[in-house]
């Protein structure tokens, strides 16, 4: 349980948000040319990092906008929040 600083609305309770999983996973440009292994990699395989992870969040019970977040999954500390399309911060 933690507070999230929505880039559009400001600080709100985490229960207002929904997590969209790992960020910066690019949808394949040519889906027809993907092998089964590549599809599995895109659809199912996850880094599932214990530590600093980049993820997508949605302010579902607020402005309903998507944004990115850098969070340490070992202690739920949020290091950075940035809008979609912005470059991820370098640690």
């Amino acid at each position: 349980m933690f507070l999230i600083n929505c880039p559009y609305c400001g600080e709100r309770d985490q229960s207002e948000f929904s997590c969209g999983g790992e960020a910066h996973m690019v949808r394949p440009k040519q889906p027809t040319e993907l092998s089964d292994d590549q599809w599995a990699e895109y659809l199912f395989m996850r880094k599932n990092i214990k530590g600093v992870q980049f993820e997508r969040w949605n302010h579902a019970h607020g402005c309903r906008k998507w944004f990115n977040m850098v969070r340490d999954t070992s202690n739920d500390k949020i290091h950075a929040v940035y809008k979609m399309g912005e470059k991820p911060p370098v640690e």
Binding site: M1, Q14, C19, D36, A40, R46, K47, N48
Partner: protein, 417 residues
Amino acid sequence: MKNKYSIFSLIKNAFSQHENWKQAWGDPKPKREYEAIIIGGGGHGLATAYYLAKKHNMRNIAVLEKGWIGGGNTGRNTTIIRSNYLWDASAGLYDHALKIWENLSQELNYNIMFSQRGVVNLAHNLQDVRDLKRRTHANRLNGIDAVWLNTNQVKEFCPIINTSPDIRYPVLGGTLQRRAGTARHDAVAWGYARGADEMGVDIIQNCEVKGIKRNGDQVEGVETSKGFIKTKKIGVVAAGHSSVIANMAGLKLPLESKPLQALVSEPVKPIIDTVVMSNAVHAYVSQSDKGELVIGAGTDAYVSYTQRGSHDVVEGTLKAILELYPIFSRMKMLRQWGGIVDICPDASPIISKTNIKGLYFNCGWGTGGFKATPGSGDLFAHTIANDEPHKLNAAFNLNRFVSGDLVDEHGAAAVAH
């Protein structure tokens, strides 16, 4: 058995004020090399070691545990055991486990307090009714006991449930598996540890795995907080930390680790003599032998390794509990905790070889692994010893995420895992 527990040993030890019981398992230093190493000293890992030694005669093996045995999800779950899964592959897997549970106390000479008190799964809307009825039929075709109860029969079976049609999610019926029930989770870990130790398995606690050494496609050993240990076979049973170990070997798994919470109330006199689960409102409850209500809540919807979980999840579960059981409205909750569960996209486990030789994974049990502990250990031991899956866990391979042959219990079975 060098230290068999019986009524006679109990009487004998009573004379010395129970101060001379032998340690149930040792505290060995790691050897330089083992035939196989199991990473993770929870129920599944200890069971794997036990069956490797017992059925496959692999005695020169070790279980490495980062903390203390049974201190992870084995000691954090709500101890529910059942096998009423929809698909054939799952039914085979979980009922294999249930059959072992039925004789496990005798086999281990250790009272795991297995209690077949029945598990009820409630239906709260018409789709639940259809799904659960379908599941009872599927169960019976697979030789698993299952009956459908209508609202009145649910009330008769568990009188404290509020079956009023006026509540937000009324009880429209439910399924009952009478062979299902609960067991004492700690005792399962301790019983397997004692059994494995007796056959010569080294159980090494406070030994964290820091790296996996590979030579090309073959594992060579593990780097640990107690030094390097050589081995040709590694079985990883690390639950929520499976991905962390996989990353050490340069492997990615289809898992997400999330906190799952449970809580217990103050102890009270017997009030509920069965286990009642409800998937739609995500609440399940049973009563421990100490008298505490054991309540299972849901997972947080984001990856976290914090072993605590969010307050709103517990709040949601208790709301549902209070609507279904108004009699609990003034109960006080004593403890709340979280365990990190590794969830697969299809909510079925992985008991599988990998494309690295000598590296095996038993993971992805998500929110419902305890019930499978003996079966999981047995089948994983078979997979490690023979380098081939048993027919009961063949469907639970890693390759299913490439082939698309998923065992999709999540959507289809209406099960609260």
